[in-house]
Amino acid sequence: MNDIRDAIIIGSGPAGLTAAIYAARANMAPLVIEGEPSSTSDQPGGQLMLTTDVENFPGFPDGIMGPELMTNFRAQASRFGAEFITSKVTRVDFSERPFKIWVGEDAHRARTVIVSTGAQSLMLGLPNEDRLLGHGLSTCATCDGFFFRDQDIAVVGGGDSAVEEATFLTRFASKVYLIHRRDQLRASKIMRERALANPKLDILWNSQVVEIQGDEKLSGVVLEDTLTHDQRPLIVQGLFIAIGHHPNTALFQDQLELKANGYLVTEPNSSKTQIAGVFACGDVQDDYYRQAVTAAGSGCMAAIDAERWLEEHPG
């Protein structure tokens, strides 16, 4: 059996790693169970591992690449003694103290737990989607945009990440269609203006993908007009999905209170969950701001909340 830790942090995006930096500096010797490599946005480093230039994280006037920023976060946490396990948590038990967290058969125990498991990309849920992933269909514009030089491609979505990806992809593609089911974009003003001004970017309003086509590789999609329900084919060689995220809360379903949309409930202006000693931060509990810097801020809150909780409950 492993020793009882002061703090275990589950997840390693901006929230988890900021919590790790603060907890490590507070001599809590945190263990970060950082997740395992994947290309689905649920991975060590979190969603920023799949992005390019991060232009809105304070302190980087020229922007910084998402993966590089997260490598820096991790190095900073390591420097102060945070330890890492590169695996996924398989089960938790918060019903008694010390809390228990399993990675496979290996049980870890902790006086406080900080949940920062983030959110992962939603998929369309259409036939052919899994089969064509990596064969023209992608969830990572940064990784795969390069392979679509001088081709026609489409991005599905209308939020900041969709618009950002579509804009990024115009560096490579000859034409980028942004397929959006509404008649206006949810993305921030600066991103919207950039998209609308980009001559290589065409926004297909009131449209949704109802079919993905292709044998060996993606050859096109069928679009449906959300108002008239008319269908029409769109020939593209690449399709990038950016339709939003779902919080990674399946592990905590029976243990912590969830909102109807699956996000964890925390007390207002705090990282406290309804179980004393279990704290949550970052996108797993934020269905509103969802920014790297707000995640980092809430990670700091969680570490301070955990530290104070330990002071008030010694032993």
Binding site: S38, S39, Q43, M49, K88, H135, T142, F146
Partner: protein, 107 residues
């Protein structure tokens, strides 16, 4: 070959892959790919632990012709070459255990 990861490009690729007496796992990667960075340390571990397979990598930015030849449309892409021919293609980052399982038949 010393245990480690060999960098391959257009000039060296065919020689190294064609002359290998063991399967070669080639990692197609790029500097700007986050998931590629995630699996790099895993591949280094596999290279030093497994004698039955060699590990090599191709930077798709520097060798776009090789990426095109093997129809890479997404990275990281791992292709196992046996007797100079592609025998298995894996796409996307995976944890070490899953990766070892996928390439188990070549170890």
């Amino acid at each position: 070959m010393a245990k480690g990861i060999t960098d391959l490009d257009m000039n060296s690729f065919d020689d190294v892959i064609g002359s290998s007496d063991t399967p070669v796992l080639v990692d197609f990667w790029a500097e700007w790919c986050g998931p590629c960075k995630m699996i790099a340390p895993i591949l280094e571990e596999i290279a030093s632990e497994q004698d039955g397979i060699k590990i090599a990598k191709v930077n798709v930015d520097e060798s776009p012709d090789l990426a095109r030849r093997y129809e890479i449309m997404s990275i990281p892409a791992l292709i196992v070459f046996e007797n100079g021919e592609p025998a298995k293609k894996l796409i996307g980052a995976k944890p070490k255990g899953a990766l070892l399982e996928e390439i188990g038949e070549f170890l």
